[in-house]
């Protein structure tokens, strides 16, 4: 087996990289793939809490890099999905504790055993981002339909291409269809017009994401959630399936909720 290393990055912080990583990983694993996520945000670890695995951490990636633990010892198995694993970031160290060559070595070892290795990149364009980019086979850029996030995404696209890791694909996260309709939010077409890269997913703003994070349950595992459906669609596209984009204009009103009770999924 030779797994694919997928780097999830954005430039700007707070656009939903960690949530996206957790949900795509969960959706891929729920579909039968063997998946390991690596939290590359050393010093600001979060993927563990989003996945609800924070209480199981004994060793982290810095222990592995420094030889204090074997890779297998640092891998935490998900409590719901037997094919999903997490390698957490260290919380008390900083980005300089890991080098791009360490990430390449770790990912090479993991490729033999996993279908997908998902790297959650930290915000920024410094060492942590370089670490997450170095072993990558495929880069997914997360952005929000806002000027600051789109501008940073453009910068990241340039850096990814200059490192010969492109072309990256784009996820537009936290889109609010009613604001787009009003003309007060960049539409999918506006963002694609500006960035000129391939779209791999659009995720609507959804309270369920916050609720899922609160509980440590990724929404991708919630059959009824719209954003969960969006993440499941992205996972299928990553596997090479052709999946049409969701109709975001469909309002989540009373009738559509009723419809969902009868016919789950979107």
């Amino acid at each position: 087996m030779s797994g694919t290393v997928i780097t999830v990055t954005s430039g700007k912080g707070g656009v939903g990289k960690t949530t996206t990583t957790a949900n795509i990983a969960a959706a891929l694993a729920a579909d039968g793939a063997k998946v390991v996520c690596i939290d590359a945000d050393i010093g600001l670890r979060n993927l563990d809490v989003v996945l609800g695995l924070e209480n199981r951490i004994v060793y982290d990636i810095v222990h592995v890099v420094e030889g204090a633990a074997k890779l297998k010892q640092a891998m935490i198995r998900d409590k719901r999905l037997p094919h999903l694993f997490l390698i957490p970031a260290a919380q008390t160290r900083d980005k300089s504790a890991v080098a791009p060559s360490d990430m390449i070595r770790i990912c090479d070892e993991l490729r033999a055993e996993f279908d997908y290795i998902m790297l959650d990149s930290p915000a920024g364009i410094e060492r942590g981002f370089r670490n997450a980019l170095a072993p990558s086979n495929r880069v997914v850029i997360v952005t929000n339909p806002e000027v600051s996030a789109v501008r940073d995404a453009d910068r990241i696209i340039g850096l990814v291409e200059s490192e010969q890791k492109g072309p990256p694909s784009l996820i537009i996260n936290r889109i609010k269809p009613e604001m787009v309709k009003r003309g007060d939010m960049l539409s999918i077409d506006d963002v694609l017009d500006v960035l000129a890269i391939d779209l791999i997913g659009v995720v609507p703003e959804d309270e369920q994401i916050v609720i899922g994070s609160n509980r440590g349950n990724p929404v991708a595992l919630d059959e009824k959630s719209r954003s969960g459906q969006a993440f499941r669609n992205i996972a299928r596209r990553i596997k090479g399936e052709q999946v049409p984009f969701m109709d975001l204009d469909k309002q989540d009103g009373f009738f559509s909720r009723l419809g969902k009770l009868i016919r789950p999924g979107g």
Binding site: R151, R182, G183, L186, V194
Partner: protein, 90 residues
């Protein structure tokens, strides 16, 4: 639909997303070429100095812009020459 509401609410400004898109496009041209508006101003001043040595130009009408066409970025200069029937002696 949007236009109708805009007229109804008396808003004459363009939708904020259009403003966002146009501002983004402009700022990205500068980001991508690593040419800041300040550099453009410097280029403009220097071009004015050089060209004025040889031709009388309308200094206030000079425009230097970064433009993007498909995958090409180009620097476009528009330099109006002052109308004069005869070459002035220095």
């Amino acid at each position: 639909m949007t236009n109708f509401f805009r007229r109804l609410t008396g808003r004459s400004q363009p939708p904020s997303k259009d403003v966002a898109r146009d501002r983004l496009k402009l700022v990205l041209i500068h980001d991508r070429t690593d040419v800041s508006p300040a550099i453009i101003e410097n280029i403009k001043d220097e071009i004015i100095t050089v060209i004025s040595k040889h031709v009388d130009i309308d200094r206030d009408g000079v425009e230097i812009k970064l433009q993007q066409e498909d995958n090409e970025n180009r620097l476009v200069a528009d330099i109006p020459i002052l109308k004069s029937p005869r070459r002035r002696a220095r």
